[in-house]
């Protein structure tokens, strides 16, 4: 293990941060915190939202609910914009919510909702926010399962804070949260009155300027993240996006042949996770266990979707052949039903 206050870590941090900027498509600062993606979401809230501030939370599933819950726990007055699970957020509904909440401090959006397999049209949602007076409220984007796998243009679309986590498209183990932060978000960070310490972005920024982190970082995950970023940049960001599109289509087509219907609205189906309705007569809760017995990990439904859907993840280092393995196992698992 290297000294996290020494020159090797300084170089590692600089390299990872520079490459993250490329993948986040931002020219602004990126902070890396030791914690899960949820820790990154909490960091965004406690650094931007004062207790009592109004926020508009666009929620289309469990992770949208989580972001709204974090804001509520820390004292925000949360107006939620929801849709039935499986649908994408409605830009018109966001517009109306902002009309009702003209003094909102922030809009919270999940880019890719893994609980329902839906990717929001973030570009259009961001336009709605940005077209409000004075550039609109701060736009906070949960990009945990999208950045690096699905196009997200942080600066061009006007996102103020975009959060991701090392174990997703980055192909590293869990343990680091990354936040891209716009200059106007930094102004809010400096002015924010919400108490915070471990996730205080002011401290993170102060130490980043010297090539360090305020607290001991998960150094091992930094090395893995550096390797993952090299793979992404070698393949080329556009090629990575295209591969995720191809692999997702392959998964949807194959599942359709097996008799599965897609759970989400097909126009917004995610390219990093495919959510499928459990066919009538099949025990949905048993499918993940039957897949695991064949060496394949899939997930069941979360929260109110428990037993009703299965979820196949395909982000990071995944190719068509991996999907073929999943589909073969799924055919066997169905036969066992």
């Amino acid at each position: 293990m290297i000294n996290h206050r020494g020159p090797e870590f300084k170089d590692l941090l600089a390299k990872v941060t520079a490459d993250l900027r490329t993948v986040f498509q931002t020219e602004h600062e990126i902070m890396i915190l030791t914690g899960s993606g949820t820790g990154g979401l909490e960091a965004a809230i406690v650094n931007l939202v004062n207790p009592g501030d109004k926020v508009v939370a666009v929620s289309i599933g469990e992770f949208g609910e989580r972001l709204a819950d974090i804001a509520r726990v820390y004292g925000a007055d949360v107006a939620k914009v929801s849709v039935p699970y499986g649908q994408a957020a409605d830009p018109q509904a966001l517009e109306e919510a902002l009309d009702r909440t003209p003094d909102a401090r922030a809009v919270l959006v999940t880019h890719n909702e893994t609980s329902t397999g839906v990717t929001n049209d973030l570009r259009t949602l961001a336009e709605v926010v940005r077209s409000r007076p004075n550039g609109g409220p701060l736009l906070v984007v949960d990009g945990v399962s999208s950045v690096g796998s699905i196009p997200l243009k942080t600066d061009e679309w006007g996102c103020d804070v975009v959060i991701s986590g090392s174990q997703k498209g980055w192909m590293a183990p869990p343990g680091l949260a990354m936040l891209a932060i716009s200059p106007r978000a930094w102004e809010a960070v400096e002015a924010c009155k919400c108490p915070r310490y471990y996730f205080d972005l002011r401290q993170a920024r102060k130490y980043a300027a010297t090539g360090q982190t305020p607290w001991t970082p998960a150094v091992g995950v930094f090395y893995a993240l550096r390797a993952g970023l090299e793979l992404i940049l070698q393949e080329g960001l556009e090629n990575v996006y295209a591969r995720h599109r191809r692999v997702a289509q392959h998964c949807r087509d194959g599942a359709h042949e097996l008799g599965f219907e897609l759970f989400p609205d097909p126009a917004y189906a995610s390219n990093t996770v495919t959510c499928l309705k459990v066919p009538a007569g099949v025990d949905g809760a048993a499918l993940p266990g039957r897949m695991r017995a064949q060496g394949v990990e899939i997930a069941g439904g979360q929260g109110k979707l428990k037993g009703q859907i299965i979820r196949v993840g395909h982000l990071g280092y995944v190719h068509e052949a991996d999907i073929d393995d999943v589909l073969r196992a799924l055919r066997v698992a169905l036969g066992e039903g």
Copy 2:
């Protein structure tokens, strides 16, 4: 990477937790959070201390100050018991502080203060706390750099919360914080009104009961922690303590021969880190760089001790031969001055 909601992780979590209990010398619950040791300190504060609560913070160095700062940031009314750097906490001064603050919610103590190389007499300090009416305030112990290397009897001494971090005596990379929590601390956790989400121990406990963590854990560090625990238990806890005592004495003796004076009061010199006064005429700030050039990592002083001391860490998998390497490099580095 395994599924952190699957059976392999459940087994891993159960094994690590059971072994941690042995090393923490507790029969009570241990929660493992993804974050640094500082994250663990924050978890203790936000789960136990209500805004406005009085706490007594025993501070003998930078890490004592950090724990007091965290309490202050989250709204506690902090009464500090300090000593000149290099000395151990004074039980009599703690007694007097508790007389002045009979309604203190908690006492915060750093067991082993790595900024000054002092190990507090935690057993005696705990007796002072426990002899107060109704078992006294909650005793929160920063054991980040002591548990597993220096004797700390969590239950026998009556510590309510003891915090450690995976990169210390556990010989694993950084990324996990571990908290031992007494039954009466759990009562305080359940009643505590401080807002918290990521570090909410109620959630950690709820998920631990099903073999999971609420948020994605740093799985890779769990594997390393399991391996570190196996090493500790194979060697035997008492043997590990004895080795740390031996290695520390070897370091102090060798440094003395090189003309260094110990910075802390020798009666309380730490067995996991040796702090040495920089001899007159030697550029203290330059020593870590000259050591690094020889492949040896030592640290300089933090905060107000910058340039005045050097710190040699010797915890975890360290033997006399490693100290000999350090001393040889130190002799060369001194010659270069």
